[in-house]
Structure formats: structure tokens, C-alpha cells
């Protein structure tokens, strides 16, 4: 596997082409966070429905590179129907993994595991984390829009 193949794993490209949970809903109960990376134009909106301490639903929308868009899809599939704390914890492990910091390898990251290669491309870490940041923002409480 060369450097490019290591970054653009099949699973990533698959999520990019066929994103899960895509499209926002018009529902006041959702928390929404919209982040634009002004340096490159990556633009992600995450909507989260939290009820009874659980992440009931995650929706996303946006435009950007394959790493950014796919990771929103991967995130939604991975964290939906998790307790808020667990979702938060997994998200932190993911962000640590792609930014080359130590993380809890016992956590099952499933498809998100494919972003391992990102840490070799420091310029792309932002792309791989922006959706996750937006997700964490939606847990923060207030709707920021």
C-alpha cells in the first residue's frame, strides 16, 4: 500500500460516494453546529438529536473533500444510538488517533479505523476532524446558530 492508498482507504471512498445519514431535518429538537474551515472551504453541518442521555440521531450536510465528507458519514454511523458520554469518549479517541496522539486502542472505532493514515498527512488532520468538532459542539448544549 503506498502513501496515497494508505490515506484514501476504500472504506473512506465508499462513505464519500454513499454517505449515510446525509441531509438535515427540520426539527427543533435537534442541536445543530455549522463549521466552515475558512482556509479551504470545507463546510460541515451536523445535527444531533439527544434524548434521555442518548444520541438518538445524527444528520449531516456539507461540502468538502473526501476526507471531510466521508468522516461525517462514518461519524454518524458510528455514534448514533450511543449514550452521550460514550459518543463523546469515542469522538475524543478518534480525534487523538488522527492527530497522532495517544488514544484508547480498546475502543472499537469500526469504519473510523480507516482514518489511521491521516496522521501521516498533518495538513489533512483538520479535514478529518472538522465534522467531529461540529458533533462535539452539538453536545455542548446551546445551538450555535
Amino acid at each position: 500500500m503506498n502513501r496515497m492508498e494508505n490515506l484514501y482507504r476504500q472504506i473512506i471512498m465508499e462513505h464519500y460516494k454513499n454517505p449515510r445519514n446525509k441531509g438535515l431535518v427540520d426539527d427543533e429538537r435537534y442541536n445543530k453546529s455549522h463549521i466552515r474551515n475558512p482556509s479551504c472551504g470545507d463546510d460541515v453541518t451536523i445535527q444531533t438529536l439527544v434524548e434521555g442521555g442518548e444520541v438518538k440521531d445524527i444528520r449531516h450536510e456539507g461540502s468538502g473533500c473526501s476526507i471531510c465528507c466521508s468522516s461525517a458519514s462514518v461519524l454518524s454511523a458510528l455514534l448514533k444510538r450511543r449514550p452521550v458520554e460514550e459518543a463523546q469518549y469515542i469522538s475524543t479517541q478518534y480525534v487523538n488517533m488522527v492527530s497522532g496522539q495517544s488514544y484508547d486502542t480498546d475502543v472499537e472505532l469500526e469504519d473510523a479505523e480507516a482514518y489511521q493514515g491521516v496522521k501521516q498527512f498533518p495538513a489533512r488532520i483538520k479535514c478529518a476532524t472538522i465534522a467531529w468538532q461540529a458533533f462535539e459542539d452539538t453536545l455542548g448544549g446551546d445551538d450555535d446558530e
Binding site: 468538502g64 498527512f121 495538513a123
Partner: protein, 402 residues
């Protein structure tokens, strides 16, 4: 003179022979000479300017004043019309601040969708503050500012015309002389963003006759943290300073203040001394190579690159008829970020993004583009390498199913 040889040796970053640097429109490389000159200041004179009566300070002041003369000569301005700033963005903001008090409710400010954020947003702000209207010159189908379109939006209410000289995305040259003439006939001030023109062509402020013009040192072989505001002397005399403090003062008392004459009136605090001195050296270097020679060189490269890119399937070029060495394009179906990562893997430095010009991105209906920009140190070989790498990117993402 042909530039295709030896020049690279002047640029330390290019010691890495595998590097292809195609991002000059963002910032240029810096030649040894400029670094030496700045080091000299820190090593020999290191002293504040204007204020010291001792030798070191006097020598620093002389070099610093020479730098102003060099800049004035470059753009055919008078010395006292050259204000040292932190960069083009800073300079363009100063213009907006200086003119703000003269803008009335209902006045019109003409600008364009080609503007860099640093020339459009200050006016968006002033328009809001003063109740004025921002008017956009409609671009033609290629994205150009045509004189006729400008005439159509010019009105007796036009107070300011704020336009770019060369667009940092489309590489188009604005017909700024004629625009200025018309604007002045309507009593409007003209502010020109020359960040992408002065580094690449001979610019003569007297011929353009604009009221203000701005550019940055770091885009023309000079240091970061430095730029120029040109302003007509009569305006610099008439307008209020933007900042207040050391060096711009004549006599300061508890409740009164007199100003120094321009340009000092607009330069508060210890100035960017090393930067000014380094920038003058960059200008000397560019003038030795010849700005017109450099422009020819870039033109030839741009033609070569256009031809090569056009021959590549799946490439969309957005500015086929650019006047400057800037090519803005995309690989169909692949986000520019993804492309750039492959190019970077081949050690090719290219910009992907909106290039601080979101309005023209909206006009082009794209979120982001690739942009290759050329300067005197680029070669045909650089372009061949770019093409090869783009092919690799295309094939790679095709295989990945895009």
C-alpha cells in the same frame, strides 16, 4: 533575456531540487540577498530609526529612508506618498478608515466580486457604518471587469471605487487607468489593490492616477509583515491619521496634538525597520532582472501550462484568458484538497481553497479551486512535473471510483 536558468540558485528554498513551488500568489520565495540584507541590519546597525542622534541609529535611519526612496521609484511615486504598513490588507483597511468620514448616507461604493476579502470587507463595513451602498460591477461571462459595465454602475452618487488591479484568482488585469479617469470625472476616490500586479509588472501610480494603491512585500521576494500604502500627497495631507502615538506626533500636549507631515503622520510606533530594508533589496533584485522580462517569462510559462492543462482530460480551467501567471482550475469530480494531497506527495506546492475570495468562488459556483501561480523562479520543468502529478491524481481517484 531568458530567465529559465540559474535563478533557482538564488532561492534557498529551491535547494530542495525536487520541490516545485507554484504558490507565489499566496507568498513568494525569498532570495539569499534579501535575507543577507536584513541580517546586516540586525548584525550591524540594530537601532531604532528617527529618534537616535548617535551613529548606529543614524545609519539605520539612512538605510530605512533609502528603502522608501526605492519603493517610490518602483511605482513612480513621490517619497512622501509612500506609507509603510504591515501589509496590503492593513493598507487597504487604512484607506477605508481614512475615507470613511467623507462617505454620506446614500453614497455608493463600487467594488467587484473579484476582490480579495481584504479589499471588499473593509468597504462592506464602511458601507454599513455610513449607510452607503456597495455596488458590484457586473462581471462579463468570463469573469472580467469591462469598462462598459463599470460605466453602467458609475453614478453621481459614486464616492469610492475600490477595485483590484489583478485578480488573485482569475489573473485578469482591470482597465484601471480608464476606470480611474471616469471615476475622477464623477468626483470619486479610487483605491487600487495592487497586491498581484506590482510584483509582476511595471506599475506607475502617476499614469494610473489612482488615489490609493496597496501591495505586500512578501509576494515579491520581500519579508513578511510589511507592505505599502501609496496615497496621493494631497490626500495624505488632508486625511486624519488612522493610528496615534510615537513618531506620528509633532507636538503633543494634554489636550492638543499636531501631526508630522506624511508619510510619518500615518506610521505610528517603531516601524518594521529590517523589513523595509529587506524589501528594498528585493525590489533592487527584481529591477535587475527586469519586471517586464519577468512578466514575459511568466506569460510564456502560463501559455505552456494552459496548453498542457487543456490537453488533460477532466481538467476544467476557469480563467483560460488570464493576463497574469495564475491558473485556476479543478479536476472534475475530485475535490481540490484531495488533488493537492497527491501533488504534495510529489513535492509540488499548490494552493487549494477559496483564495480569500469567496465572492468569486460564488460567482464561479464552486466551493474551492486549485490555483497554480508562477514567478521568475519557475520553469517549464515545473509545469511538466505538475502535469505528471495531476495525471497521477486523476488516475488514482478514478481507480478509487470517483
Amino acid at each position: 533575456m531568458d530567465l529559465d536558468f540559474d535563478i533557482r540558485a538564488d532561492f534557498p528554498v529551491l535547494d530542495d531540487e525536487t520541490l516545485v513551488y507554484l504558490d507565489t500568489a499566496a507568498t513568494s520565495l525569498t532570495p539569499h540577498r534579501v535575507l543577507h540584507k536584513m541580517n546586516d541590519y540586525y548584525r550591524k546597525y540594530s537601532a531604532n530609526v528617527h529618534r537616535g542622534v548617535y551613529r548606529l541609529s543614524h545609519e539605520a535611519t539612512e538605510l530605512y529612508n533609502d528603502a522608501r526612496r526605492t519603493v517610490a521609484r518602483l511605482i513612480n511615486a513621490e517619497e512622501d506618498e509612500v506609507v509603510f504598513t504591515r501589509g496590503a490588507s492593513n493598507a487597504l483597511n487604512m484607506v477605508a478608515r481614512m475615507l470613511a468620514p467623507y462617505i454620506q448616507e446614500g453614497d455608493e461604493i463600487i467594488t467587484s466580486e473579484l476582490e480579495h476579502h481584504s479589499h471588499f470587507l473593509p468597504w462592506q463595513r464602511i458601507a454599513k457604518e455610513r449607510g452607503a451602498k456597495l455596488i458590484f460591477v457586473p462581471l462579463d461571462q468570463n469573469g472580467r471587469i469591462q469598462l462598459q459595465a463599470f460605466k453602467n454602475v458609475l453614478s453621481p452618487r459614486t464616492r469610492v471605487v475600490a477595485l483590484t488591479h489583478v485578480s488573485n484568482v482569475m489573473g485578469y488585469l482591470t482597465p484601471i487607468e480608464k476606470i480611474t479617469e471616469l471615476a475622477h470625472a464623477h468626483g470619486a476616490y479610487v483605491s487600487v489593490d495592487a497586491a498581484q500586479s506590482v510584483p509582476h509588472m511595471e506599475v506607475d501610480v502617476k499614469r494610473i492616477d489612482c488615489d490609493f494603491l496597496a501591495f505586500s512585500a512578501h509576494k515579491m521576494l520581500g519579508p513578511t509583515g510589511f507592505g505599502i500604502l501609496y496615497g496621493k500627497r494631497k490626500h495624505l495631507d488632508a486625511f486624519e491619521p488612522v493610528e496615534f502615538g510615537g513618531d506620528m506626533v509633532g507636538i503633543a500636549e494634554k489636550d492638543t496634538l499636531t501631526y508630522q507631515k506624511p508619510p510619518l503622520k500615518f506610521e505610528t510606533g517603531t516601524p518594521p525597520i529590517a523589513e523595509a530594508i529587506g524589501f528594498a533589496e528585493a525590489i533592487d533584485y527584481l529591477e535587475e532582472k527586469g519586471l517586464e522580462t519577468i512578466r514575459e517569462h511568466e506569460k510564456r510559462l502560463a501559455e505552456y501550462a494552459h496548453k498542457a492543462l487543456s490537453g488533460l482530460e477532466d481538467v476544467v480551467i476557469y480563467n483560460k484568458d488570464a493576463d497574469a501567471g495564475i491558473i485556476t482550475f479543478n479536476l472534475k469530480g475530485v475535490h481540490p484538497h484531495d488533488v493537492v494531497t497527491v501533488l504534495d506527495d510529489d513535492n509540488i506546492a499548490l494552493r487549494a481553497g477559496h483564495h480569500c475570495a469567496q465572492l468569486v468562488m460564488q460567482w464561479l459556483s464552486v466551493a474551492a479551486t486549485l490555483r497554480a501561480s508562477f514567478y521568475l523562479y519557475n520553469t517549464r520543468d515545473d509545469i511538466d512535473r505538475l502535469i505528471e502529478s495531476l495525471k497521477r491524481a486523476r488516475d488514482f481517484f478514478k481507480d478509487a471510483g470517483l
